[in-house]
């Protein structure tokens, strides 16, 4: 599936909920299904700055696609990064770089979109895209 399609899918899923509690509970569920990063990659280098909780992300090129794994010590943060990874993992770096992130707003997580948020959602997106940029050059 393309990033766009996955995002639509996520939007669809979230549209079923009519209050924040259900949304957060689902997000926590998603967190539990996060493709976990290997312990060896849980290094300080892989920590994303700007989050109050710790978030580690690792990226690996498999053929021409970028595969992300991650973890966090906070479960809501884990849910957020899980959503991002679902949308961006297993995609071509180029597509990741060009991808929109409007869907965050549409699934009711707009409040997390300010760059000053302590949860660092903006930092996470930035980091995933940075990985994509880095690996993009590697492909060429």
């Amino acid at each position: 599936m393309q990033i766009k399609e996955i995002q639509e899918e996520i939007i669809d899923e979230f549209s079923m909920f009519d209050d924040w509690m259900q949304r957060y509970e689902y997000m926590i569920e998603l967190g539990k299904s996060l493709p976990l990063i290997e312990d060896a990659y849980k290094t300080d280098d892989n920590i994303i700055k700007g989050c109050q909780s710790k978030v580690w992300v690792h990226a690996e090129l498999q053929d021409d696609k970028l595969v992300f794994t991650a973890d966090s010590d906070a479960i809501i943060t884990k849910g957020i990064i899980a959503i991002l990874i679902r949308a961006f993992s297993n995609q071509k770096p180029k597509d990741i770089i060009e991808a929109d992130t409007d869907f965050i707003d549409k699934i009711g997580l707009k409040e997390h979109l300010s760059p000053t948020r302590a949860n660092g959602l903006v930092s996470m997106i930035k980091q995933l895209k940075l990985y994509a940029v880095a690996y993009q050059t590697q492909i060429k």
């Binding site: 924040w20 957060y24 509970e25 926590i28 109050q52 909780s53 010590d73 906070a74 809501i76 943060t77």
Partner: protein, 418 residues
């Protein structure tokens, strides 16, 4: 002098009428995420009563002007009001002289002023002592001092309850000890430290003492002369005052010993390119245009607090603390950090298996504002080997019903997160 009269109207009310008090705080009417705001982040910053907001508006609408040296009426009025605020602060803290009160931009600025000054007075091999439960603002400036001077930093350890180990402190003291600095109340734990004893012991070896009163000031009236403390400091924004202003109390003899911190207007007597001489206290430490409105509003905040009455505040907050503590402890897996006998109305806690950030996020969704994280006191977190805590801190305008909302909220968060 006549212009001083009428500053202090201590009007002790025997029982606090919380509903009436809440009317003074416009922000408490706010909704957050469609729920009434329950503001329990008072240790980070307190809310501002309309009396203080009005003092600010009055300043800008009626007598905003640069102070000192101005001949015109507005400048005179602003100067008078600013100096009256200094005297309010002096009386509140029972300092011997008005010029022992230095206006600063806050506690952090105050501590840097003192630590920087000691750079000129300390020598390689001298020792300074800090407590294990300090805010970064009372650690980093001294570390910077140590780097500059080769001074050695020693740390008074604490026990699991969050009390300082005073026997260890005594063992550390020697004639090499030059400064001891410690907070009056810990922001992360709420512990009220035995500063009386800390000061006396330090003076026994001739060391100066700085007490960081940032967390104490809204709960406890500290008496500078009775404590015989050398430096004491706090921030207005934690005592119902505005942001961007604080005070440093310094004993006259110490303030005379310390070199000036910042150079600029106001703090000089005479300037030529060859040589500059410094002005008298307090101006020596007040370079540049100060936060004039802030200083005046700081005074208004103290007036307001005295009108409520610090004794009433302390009693009521003790009730809030006792009730919140016993209710929170009913929640399975909840652990409180900081269980000292003498505490202010601050509760730092965690729930086993849950990250504090998650609890804070769910509470926010419920309209409840608490702080999560290391509270700028990483060494305490390292001590307990935790990434942080959830901190609920109560003020005299909080209600028992809000405590209930908090407890329900934490319970709900626990259910969602575990």
């Amino acid at each position: 002098m006549s212009w001083l009269s009428g500053i202090f109207v201590y009007q002790y009310i025997d029982m606090l009428d919380i509903n009436k008090i809440r009317e003074d705080f416009p922000i408490l009417k706010r909704k957050v995420n469609d729920r009434p705001l329950v503001y329990l982040d008072n240790a980070a910053t307190s809310q501002t009563p309309k009396q203080v907001i009005e003092a600010i508006v009055d300043y800008y609408e009626n007598y905003n002007a640069n102070i000192h040296r101005g001949v015109h009426t507005l400048s005179q009025e602003a100067t008078d009001k600013y100096e009256q605020a200094r005297i309010k602060i002096q009386k509140h803290f029972n300092a011997a002289k008005p010029y022992e009160i230095i206006f600063t931009s806050g506690t952090t600025h105050s501590i840097n002023l003192v630590a920087n000054g000691f750079a000129a007075l300390l020598e390689d091999g001298d020792e300074i002592i800090v407590s294990a439960m300090e805010h970064h603002s009372n650690i980093v400036p001294w570390q910077m001092l140590c780097e500059r001077t080769g001074t050695i930093l020693k740390v008074i350890p604490m026990n699991m309850e969050g009390d300082l180990m005073m026997e260890e402190y005594e063992k550390m003291l020697s004639n090499k000890t030059k400064v001891v600095f410690c907070n009056h109340v810990s922001n992360a734990l709420g512990t009220i430290n035995p500063i009386d004893e800390i000061i006396k012991k330090a003076h026994g070896v001739g060391a100066a003492v700085l007490i960081d009163g940032a967390q104490a000031a809204s709960h406890i009236v500290a008496d500078m002369q009775a404590l015989d403390v050398d430096f004491y400091t706090c921030s207005a924004h934690k005592i119902c005052g505005p942001t961007g202003v604080g005070m440093l109390y310094g004993k006259e003899e110490w303030l005379n010993k310390l070199p000036p911190y910042q150079g600029g207007g106001e703090m000089i007597a005479e300037v030529t390119f060859e040589k500059t001489t410094y002005a008298d206290l307090p101006h020596k430490f007040e370079a540049g245009t100060p936060n004039i409105c802030g200083g005046i509003a700081f005074g208004a905040a103290l007036d307001y607090m005295h009108q409520i009455g610090f004794k009433n505040i302390a009693e009521y907050e003790a009730d809030l603390l006792a009730y919140a503590t016993s209710e929170l402890l009913k929640i399975e897996g909840l652990k409180i950090y900081g269980t000292a006998q003498r505490k202010t109305s601050v509760i730092s806690f965690n729930i086993e298996g849950v990250h504090p950030y998650d609890i804070g996020t769910i509470l926010d969704k419920l309209g409840i504002a608490v702080r999560t994280g290391h509270h700028c006191a990483q060494p305490i977190m390292d001590f307990y080997k935790i990434p942080g805590t959830v901190r609920a801190s109560f003020s005299f305008y909080n209600t028992m019903a809000e405590v209930d909302t908090l407890v329900e909220g934490v319970q709900r968060a626990r259910n969602m997160l575990l």
